[in-house]
């Protein structure tokens, strides 16, 4: 990636259009996630419904961006950083679309759980997990917009904490279900929501790995953090 322009201005514009559409999609997904978590924690069924109805916008954007990228590949045969940019966009929108699906699920459960008496201790844990996931998504989108490898690596390492928080919520839910089987239905609903949030964290991690690939040209998927750090820092 560099600031030297292509000889073809039209090519510049095509790549820029795909890129800015990706950013718009990212913004949309972020709003969905924020609203879904808010609906869940504040028992706002109207907001929950809005989230589950708005998912189609994200799906439509995914299809449109895919088509745009396919056209650029067919017309321009991109190479090097342009090729990596397009591959990254195509991959990132898949993860963004899935984050959208998870937000939609949380929105649906939020509607269903408006009747639940109380989350008890879980409220705090869910709020904490929600905040963490929202911050992760926001950092991910920042890293993507700024092509910031350091921030991307930070997000990848944060994912572990999200996983731990999810495990802790699961343990709390086991106890709750064992205490009183009447809690099982609500507890399962809470489990699905927590699970969706945890999955959002995983998708953020994937996106950050693509950012590293885009900037550094190194595929760091399926490697551990230590190795990733060595690979990336070894390049500086």
């Amino acid at each position: 990636m560099n600031n030297t322009q292509h000889t073809s201005h039209q090519y510049n514009q095509e790549l820029e259009a795909a890129r800015s559409k990706l950013m718009t999609m990212g913004g949309l997904v972020e709003t969905q996630v924020t609203d879904a978590i808010k609906a869940l924690l504040e028992r706002d069924s109207a907001l929950g419904e809005k989230v589950s109805f708005s998912d189609y916008e994200i799906n439509t954007m995914e299809v449109a961006i895919d088509e745009q990228c396919a056209e650029i590949i067919a017309r321009r045969q991109p190479a090097a950083s342009d090729l990596r940019l397009l591959l990254t966009i195509i991959k990132v929108i898949t993860d963004l679309e899935r984050i959208g699906d998870e937000a939609e699920k949380v929105g649906r459960y939020a509607v269903e759980m408006t009747e639940t008496a109380s989350y008890g201790d879980l409220h705090n844990s869910l709020r904490h997990l929600g905040e963490h996931v929202k911050a992760m998504l926001s950092d991910t989108l920042d890293a993507l917009a700024r092509l910031d490898v350091k921030q991307a690596m930070q997000v990848v390492s944060n994912d572990q904490q999200v996983d731990e928080e999810f495990d802790s919520i699961t343990r709390q839910l086991y106890t709750r279900m064992l205490e009183d089987p009447r809690n099982i239905k609500d507890s399962l609903n809470v489990t699905w929501c927590a699970r969706s949030m945890e999955r959002i964290g995983d998708h953020c991690k994937n996106i950050c790995e693509y950012v590293i690939y885009l900037v550094k040209g190194k595929d760091v998927r399926h490697t551990n953090l230590e190795k990733m750090r060595d690979e990336i820092l070894g390049n500086d």
Partner: protein
């Protein structure tokens, strides 16, 4: 929109911005050749070190080129017009000797043997290192005589049967025999452009070279004839080392194992073709293959 979204929108550049934490390590100047210009001695067909070429008036065309060319590999040389890629190619079989006022310095060895050595006969060198040019240039003779010309000159056939054999096998290797076997005595110039180019390749192969140099061999051909030649290049790689100069980056990407990028007479980068086209190591290579040059 949340705050982060707004930040993101602000950060989304209108044009390509330098990657933060990205490619600062990219070299912008040419201090030496980046990538993997050198090979293990045993895999090396051509060895070149410190090659400079000067034209009349001491005008330097290429500067200190150091690169190894591997046995049975296709190496593509790319770069903008006037970058010195064809000049370097012509050093490899001393074609530059034929240009008045042209002077080549440096060490070039073919299988360890100095091609500028006193006992080296340039005519014999050019039999070992054949060349195919941009425009098909068959001799104004029959198809048969075009191919038989080299073997006759170098006395490679003891009798007519042997010569027939060489002509047939060369035309077969060049993928042309089936198309012309019934009209070997007709003029080579009567063939189509793609067939003429394959005839020139057959003519080159007929003297059993070790290396084939190709200077934009398909730039005058249509896409189908080009595809045939590219397919042929891949087959020829089994028996020969091939150095190809091409203006088509897609062609370099399709047919070569290694790619060398020249810029203003300097060899900027030599790398595996996959690396050059997905993650080049030098900013100038990146600029050229992504169309940011100039």
């Amino acid at each position: 929109m949340t705050e982060a979204t707004l930040n993101m929108a602000a950060a989304a550049p209108q044009t390509h911005k330098p990657a933060a934490g990205g490619r600062e390590e990219f070299a912008h100047d040419i201090t030496g050749t980046v990538g993997k210009p050198f090979l293990d001695g045993k895999d090396t067909k051509f060895f070149s070190r410190g090659v400079n070429v000067f034209y009349t008036g001491n005008k330097q065309a290429i500067f200190d080129v150091n690169v190894d060319i591997g046995r049975n590999e296709v190496i593509a040389m790319i770069g903008p017009s006037g970058c010195g890629k064809s000049t370097f190619l012509r050093c490899l079989n001393r074609m530059n000797d034929t240009i008045a006022g042209c002077r080549v310095t440096g060490d070039i060895r073919l299988d360890g043997e100095d091609i500028h050595g006193k006992e080296q006969d340039p005519v014999l060198l050019r039999a070992r290192v054949g060349m195919v040019f941009q425009k098909p240039n068959p001799f104004p003779k029959s198809i048969y005589d075009n191919v038989a010309y080299g073997p006759r000159l170098h006395g490679l056939a003891a009798n007519r049967a042997e010569l027939d054999e060489i002509v047939e096998s060369s035309l077969t290797k060049a993928g042309l025999f089936k198309e012309v076997k019934d009209r070997l005595q007709t003029p080579g110039t009567g063939l189509s452009g793609g067939q003429q180019q394959r005839l020139c390749i057959a003519r080159t192969i007929a003297v059993s070279p070790e290396v084939i140099l190709m200077d934009e061999p398909t730039s005058a051909l249509d896409p189908i004839a080009t595809a045939t030649i590219e397919e042929l290049i891949d087959e020829l790689r089994q028996s020969f080392t091939i150095c190809i100069v091409t203006h088509s980056m897609q062609q370099a990407a399709r047919i070569s194992q290694r790619t060398a990028y020249f810029h203003m007479g300097k060899l900027v980068e030599v790398n595996n073709t996959k690396t050059v086209f997905t993650n080049p190591q030098h900013q100038l290579t990146e600029n050229y293959i992504t169309g940011r040059f100039g």
